[in-house]
């Protein structure tokens, strides 16, 4: 275990409270240190002076029919209802991948229609490995990222500069960003002011969460070097279907809950995969993430809410 970047005890300690609906306080310079009191996602949007919010959802897996969730459309609808009930309409919503379960055309079509019912200014997504399993993502990119000539892109919204990365193509161990994307990220970031809050989205964790299960990105360290000049960096990922938080210097790293089904805690089972939980408890394992961006000081607050809360 000593070669793991994150040791398991720390991970499990985090897991003990990460999934319960916690607001973390982040400043431009880093994590304030402790979670605030447990509050609902709505409270984050009511922080005085907040001027913008965005929402992350992840791993909707439309097309999944396994024991862990017989109605992934229903749970996505519940997640969307939760977003649409937020007191402040999010400036944008980002889906961090695995929109579909098997990259089938009807799965993409269904999820696109459902996501179209979200009340938000803009919708973005990055692909998960399930979205590129048949054709290297050709259909996914044509349906969800048609506006971008490359599988990666950036945008300025809600007071942040956001990078939307693809790290699921031609993977050989963990995720891979690749030379072209890293070169692009370096150029893109070089044009930003150090005081601009940076938010980085990708599907597979851009940190060594659990390499034995491929829960890492092989070349994430190079990306981190390009992020060092910035006062506020928030990395938001999916893939592992559970909330995990890590403070790596200036970089605040979070994975998100799925809207479809949970996965085991790292090492708690021989293999990853859909985890069946006791009947009636599923909604407490699924969730959405509301992020509040304070204008002026660039302070960012991340709030996870389960579908049960």
């Amino acid at each position: 275990m000593s070669d793991k970047v994150i040791d398991r005890a720390a991970f499990l300690e985090c897991m003990a409270w990460c999934g319960t609906g916690v607001v973390y306080g982040l400043t431009g310079a880093g994590l304030v240190g402790k979670p605030f009191d447990i509050v609902s996602a709505a409270s984050a949007a009511e922080i005085p002076g907040a001027a913008a919010t965005f929402v992350q959802i992840s791993d909707t897996h439309i097309g999944f029919h396994g024991e862990a969730n017989g109605d992934v459309v229903g749970t996505l609808k519940a997640a969307i209802d939760k977003i649409n009930a937020l007191p402040r309409r999010p400036d944008f919503v980002m889906h961090t991948g695995d929109l579909s379960h098997l990259s089938k055309p009807e799965e993409f079509d269904t999820v696109k229609q459902l996501l179209g019912t979200i009340k938000t200014g803009s919708f973005f997504s990055v692909p998960g490995e399930h979205d590129v399993i048949n054709d290297q993502g050709k259909m996914y990119f044509s349906m969800f990222q048609a506006g971008s000539p490359t599988p990666w892109y950036s945008f300025d919204m809600a007071g942040v500069h956001a990078l939307a990365l693809t790290n699921v193509i031609n993977i050989t161990a963990g995720g891979i960003l690749g030379r072209d994307q890293l070169d692009w990220a370096k150029r893109d970031l070089a044009m930003q002011k150090p005081s601009t809050p940076i938010v980085v989205f990708a599907h597979i964790p851009l940190a060594a969460v659990y390499p034995d299960w491929g829960w890492t990105t092989d070349d994430y360290a190079e990306l981190l070097t390009y992020l060092q000049p910035f006062e506020s960096v928030t990395v938001l990922n999916g893939h592992i279907h559970q909330v995990f938080q890590k403070n790596d210097g200036k970089v605040q790293f979070y994975t998100a809950a799925s809207t479809a089904f949970p996965q085991p805690k790292p090492g708690s089972r021989p293999k990853p995969g859909p985890l069946t939980v006791p009947a009636g408890e599923l909604s407490s394992y699924l969730g959405i993430r509301n992020v509040t961006v304070h204008q002026g000081d660039g302070q960012i607050a991340v709030a996870d809410a389960t579908l049960a809360s």
Partner: protein, 118 residues
């Protein structure tokens, strides 16, 4: 589950579904008692290495509810995404060693060794 989708999308979907399905039907109709079966179970190919005579086929069946692929390391064959219960059959005509993996979970590895037929 029931969804309404546009007729254009439906036509596109049907085209895309019927294409591979037809190809698969043609393949499965030629299934043979000489087929070697490999199950994909709990994120592993079982057995990870199989040795077969040239001209015979391997049939993979995904038993997991997570999708997997059977993808040759050299790209010479690719099942694309296999859902739970889906099968993929590939006939190996040339002797040689064929390492493969799951493109969604690259730590899942297997090898087909094809022995000469003469």
């Amino acid at each position: 589950m029931h969804f309404k989708i546009g007729s254009a999308a439906l036509a596109a979907a049907l085209f895309l579904i019927v294409g591979p399905a037809s190809a698969f039907a043609a393949q499965s109709s030629s299934s043979s008692s000489t087929d070697t079966h490999v199950s994909i179970d709990n994120y592993a190919f079982k057995a990870p290495t199989v040795t077969i005579p040239a001209g015979t086929a391997v049939v993979w069946t995904n038993k997991d509810d997570d999708p997997h692929t059977v993808t040759a390391d050299d790209g010479s064959f690719d099942s694309k995404g296999l859902g739970q219960g889906d099968t993929y059959r590939h006939v190996f005509t040339k002797p040689g060693t064929y390492p493969y993996h799951c493109s969604a979970h690259p730590y899942m590895k297997g090898t087909v060794i094809v022995q000469g037929g003469n």
